[in-house]
């Protein structure tokens, strides 16, 4: 995956947390946080289509999700309720939307966010795309941004178009 993609998503995470949560984030060196969760998590997911095929997921522990959304609205959440999942959906929406503006060389369409709650969740990537998992830490807890991003070559788009006509 291009360094530009990773750096723009990293920058976007940083800007969203600074602006909406007044919180600075750092990329963690801890590689133990893997794409497949080991415990209960709150996962916000958005797909991108267009000149790239991509899935972006933010993964929080329940505590980190409650802390992050609580900071965003200035209150305390005792459990992961509808407000917390709504807030995680907005966070991934802003992270991906903000990164999309920065990726000027691509023409991308964003889907609506989905939020999943549970244990041992695994988010599958589109075919031929690998995850890049970015672990972040901040005062609200740790979280991961998982990026599966594959730019679609112009000749590949043309081949897809011809195939769809010949069906």
């Amino acid at each position: 995956m291009q360094v530009e993609i990773i750096s723009q998503f990293t920058l976007s995470v940083s800007e969203v947390f600074e602006n909406m949560l007044a919180c600075s984030v750092q990329l963690s060196q801890d590689k133990s946080q893997e794409t497949e969760s080991g415990g209960p998590e709150v996962i916000g997911v958005i797909g991108l289509s267009g000149t790239a095929q991509a899935v972006i997921a933010v993964r929080f522990s329940p505590e980190a999700a409650r802390n992050a959304v609580g900071r965003m609205v200035g209150c305390t959440f005792e459990s992961v309720d509808d407000s917390v999942t709504d807030g995680v959906g907005e966070l991934i929406n802003m992270i991906v939307g903000n990164a999309k503006v920065k990726l000027e060389s691509h023409s991308l369409t964003m889907g609506l966010p989905s939020v999943f709650l549970g244990s041992l969740c695994k988010v599958n990537t589109p075919p031929r795309v690998n995850w890049v998992d970015l672990p972040f830490t901040c005062e609200l807890g740790s979280f991961n941004l998982a990026i599966a991003f594959r730019a679609i070559a112009p000749n590949e788009k043309e081949a897809n178009r011809v195939n769809s006509y010949s069906r």
Partner: protein, 121 residues
């Protein structure tokens, strides 16, 4: 004087409402999608500004904006969006938006927009 917030996210409505209350003594009216937003606006004559999310189920913000203009409403509408690319902003302006607010935003960004359109703030 009321401000209408149209956003499918309850959390975003709450964040914007809190920011608005810090700026001045406004009443806040909320709607959860574009259709509800249009209906609310047509019924409530106290509304003087609309903050309109773009991506919403039922009716998108841009569709709602067009409906508002079709009903001869000249009220200021500020589109709120995470996807603030030049083309999207131009599309919003062409459809009748007065301005846009890019997410993520801070309280000062909301304050600046309210000052721009509601001069008494």
């Amino acid at each position: 004087m009321s401000i209408l917030i149209v956003d499918d996210s309850q959390i975003m409505r709450k964040i914007m409402a809190q920011a608005i209350k810090k700026v001045g003594n406004f009443d806040v009216v909320e709607a959860a999608d574009g259709q509800e937003g249009v209906e609310t606006l047509l019924k409530d004559s106290t509304i003087e500004l609309v903050l309109m999310d773009w991506n919403m189920p039922v009716m998108t913000g841009i569709e709602a904006l067009k409906k508002i203009r079709m009903n001869q409403k000249s009220i200021p509408v500020i589109m709120v969006t995470t996807e603030a690319e030049k083309e999207r902003v131009l599309e919003a302006i062409k459809s009748g938006a007065n301005d846009y607010l890019a997410k993520p935003f801070g309280p000062d960004d909301i304050k600046a927009k309210l000052k721009k359109f509601l001069l008494k703030v």
